[in-house]
Subunit: 453 residues, 2 copies
């Protein structure tokens, strides 16, 4: 969900300046520059408290793994904490803890990111540390093999113990039949078991380099000082000329509607999830992604949405119903609809009601009022998000890691304002097509025939 909601909180200073006469607050004055070794640096001044958020985003995720080596990007994220010659394992985390700082990391299909939050005076230390482990990672089997058990346990906890997560994994695999988005970020268990030091280091050397990274620094900083600090810390790290813009296998033309059913005794509450394969902000034609964001809002955001009104209020056959659009993705992405039936309502009945809502929007479009409400809400959410340093930094980091620009993020509210009711209807017609869709049914055992005995 982190990836999916990222663009919905994009802010813009340029926009606010251009509309100075209006009451809209000014967004952050984002600065973006590139070092000579290719490192992108984004600075977001926020001087309300002497705290700084430092993030480094690598343009590499699970979708960049070779076939048969799923889980490698995430495994490497874990191994990045195993130390360098200069900073042995644990030393930096201990220092951070002593300083009252925080750190975290995560991996998606498209990026791997490392975060720290410290007081202003410790920023240089953090930057020097990340610059050091960009190329200085030291791995031995003594640290790699136990960590492999850790990620396997993470998989058991998150996926194998959770029927809903198992279904999500299976629907993702059914939606993406060729693109590596079909593989789980955590990895398939049988492949995770074979991950090793040599593969982790090869992946690291292939993808970790200044020209494949974005540093985002948000907080109580002065951009020119950050530039000097970045030159001092990250500047000496050599560029890797072998790195190119990513080109992953694409999906073939989708022609079938697919249903995936997971039945498990542990399911307390049945549910339905529908995914359509749709373009992302990077791959869509002009205006299409913005229309999909508005469409998701009209169909499935909040209690005034079409789905909620039809399924939860009017009939009522559902407990919840919602929709979302995962626009921030390097390649094709998903438009999702989820619903939870009331007791006694079958998922087939629920699905028919969802289809009726979608068909109605595709056939007859949306009202001006719905469009206006969606735009107001989407833009307002952005403005509210400026209040959160961490969110702001994440929006810019994930956007740049996914092939978008600072300007794209900043221009987003204006482009949302330009969405028309017609473009929303077109989006529903073109993209909410059953031939590009997978529907997941999560049901309590023993509804479909299970292993017989």
């Amino acid at each position: 969900m982190r990836i999916l909601t990222a663009l919905a909180v994009a802010g813009t200073a340029a926009l606010a300046n251009a509309r100075g006469a209006e009451a809209e607050p000014a967004g952050p004055a984002v600065r973006h520059f590139t070092l000579s070794n290719g490192l992108d640096v984004v600075v977001i001044p926020d001087n309300r408290s002497p705290v700084v958020t430092h993030m480094i985003w690598y343009r590499v995720g699970s979708a960049d793994e070779e076939l048969g080596k799923s889980g490698l990007a995430h495994f490497l994220e874990h191994l990045m904490f195993k130390g360098t010659a200069k900073n042995p394992a644990g030393s930096f985390s201990r220092t951070l803890a002593t300083l009252g700082g925080q750190e975290n990391a995560f991996t998606s299909s498209d990026y791997t990111a490392y975060f720290q939050r410290v007081t202003r005076d410790h920023l240089e230390k953090v930057m020097a540390f990340e610059a050091d482990r960009m190329t200085g990672l030291v791995l031995t089997d003594a640290v790699v093999l136990p960590e492999r058990e850790v990620v396997l346990e993470e998989r058991r906890m998150r996926t194998d113990n959770d029927p809903g997560a198992q279904l999500a994994e299976a629907t993702q695999a059914a939606l993406f039949v060729n693109h590596p988005y079909g593989h789980p970020v955590i990895g398939w268990e049988q492949e995770m078991r074979k991950l090793n030091r040599e593969e982790a280091l090869a992946f690291y050397r292939r993808f970790y380099a200044p020209n494949n990274a974005i540093v985002v620094i948000a907080g109580d900083v002065v951009p020119d000082e950050i530039r000097a600090l970045a030159e001092k810390t990250y500047g000496p790290v050599p560029k890797n000329d072998a790195i190119q813009i990513r080109s992953r296998p694409l999906e073939p033309d989708a022609r079938t509607s697919r249903r995936v059913v997971l039945a498990d005794q542990r399911v307390a509450q049945p549910s339905l999830s529908r995914y359509y394969l749709v373009p992302s902000y990077r791959t869509a034609k002009a205006g299409e992604a913005e229309a999909l964001d508005a469409l998701a809002h009209v169909i499935g955001a909040g209690t005034l949405s079409r789905l909620y009104k039809a399924l939860v209020v009017e009939k009522p056959i559902a407990v919840t119903a919602s929709a979302w659009y995962g626009g921030t993705s390097f390649d094709a992405t998903r438009f999702g609809i989820s619903a939870t039936p009331r007791p006694g309502v079958s998922l087939e009945e629920l699905e028919s009601a969802i289809d009726a809502v979608v068909t109605e929007v595709a056939a007859n479009g949306i009202t001006d009022q719905e469009l206006a409400r969606a735009k107001t809400r989407l833009v307002a959410d952005t403005i509210y998000s400026w209040d959160d340093q961490f969110t702001l930094a994440r929006v810019y980091g994930s956007a740049l890691a996914n092939g978008l620009s600072v300007e794209t993020v900043q221009g987003w509210p204006d482009r949302i304002r330009a969405v028309t009711a017609r473009s929303v209807q077109e989006a529903a017609r073109n993209f909410l097509d059953m031939r590009h869709a997978v529907t997941g049914y999560l049901i309590k055992q023993p509804a479909p025939p299970e292993k017989r005995s």
Copy 2:
């Protein structure tokens, strides 16, 4: 279907010898030897007419392609006819035609094979030709680029113009979510468009070598003379030490039942196809694959089978109903059930009736009579197949290309005779499990919601 039926026609001399007292005819006296450069040679004497079938099987197919380069193995099969320095394009085919010979080639997920049928006196010429093009292929863009248009046209003809083939492609992709068996042998169109000379040559150099090939020669030949001919023609071709036994990405544990629906206006006759992910002869535990062969026979071969009786005769709700097991596969494979409904019968109703048949066998097993009939038929089909030189050669070639041995093929009738009713029931219980299954629905437009307008 070529791959799927291969093992069902295996013959054995060893077996017949051991049972000399019985009336069973002797199978072919197969000879197998390996040259010092690693080339396997299988000789099957058949002296009824002065004709020889020569086949060369490479242990490489579409499942050995890299992600994003689907179609490369099949494309290379086409390009193998573009000539060498010694035999320019077309010269060999013209020679063959002049001699009254025939030739053919085909590609599967697991192998690529080239066949010729000539009179005995031209065998050496054929062997010298195949030895030459094993490493001597010459490719220029002038021949590669037009051939790419040819395979694209082949895809349009075979797949894009045929809703049934489109559905088969989509069900295969839904069944194999990680293993490259999920990709079509012909390739995904968007990847075929990018195939080129360099990639074809790299693939050729990586996989075409004597230690990655099997030569099968069936016909009016003397094994010792073939050995000498093989040493003379293929012997000088150097081994490629980089080639290892194939290790492809495996499937994760399957936990969901999946349905794939293709609706198209061109569908004249709706149909249902069910695929279970099951082990192959190479990957199964002892006896499991033989039990699956017997199970397929009892459930779905002929008018006395369970499916036919229940669906076509008794109810009747179907026009056809059958089952098969694709045992000859390097990695995991499929157990398939197909049925065509009578007019007015829904695919859901048909599916329920199929599930009832499967559930009954899993719960209560099969009769001794059914088992005896299945064994007799499977073994008899093998004996009949000895009559066909081409089939015999193909059985041994595909078996060896898929990691089986001559002895495995020869012992097959005995292993089929050892199948018990209990092992067949166990196979149904363990493998015909909806959590490992994909069901394809081919329906006439506009049954499911299509692209809306």
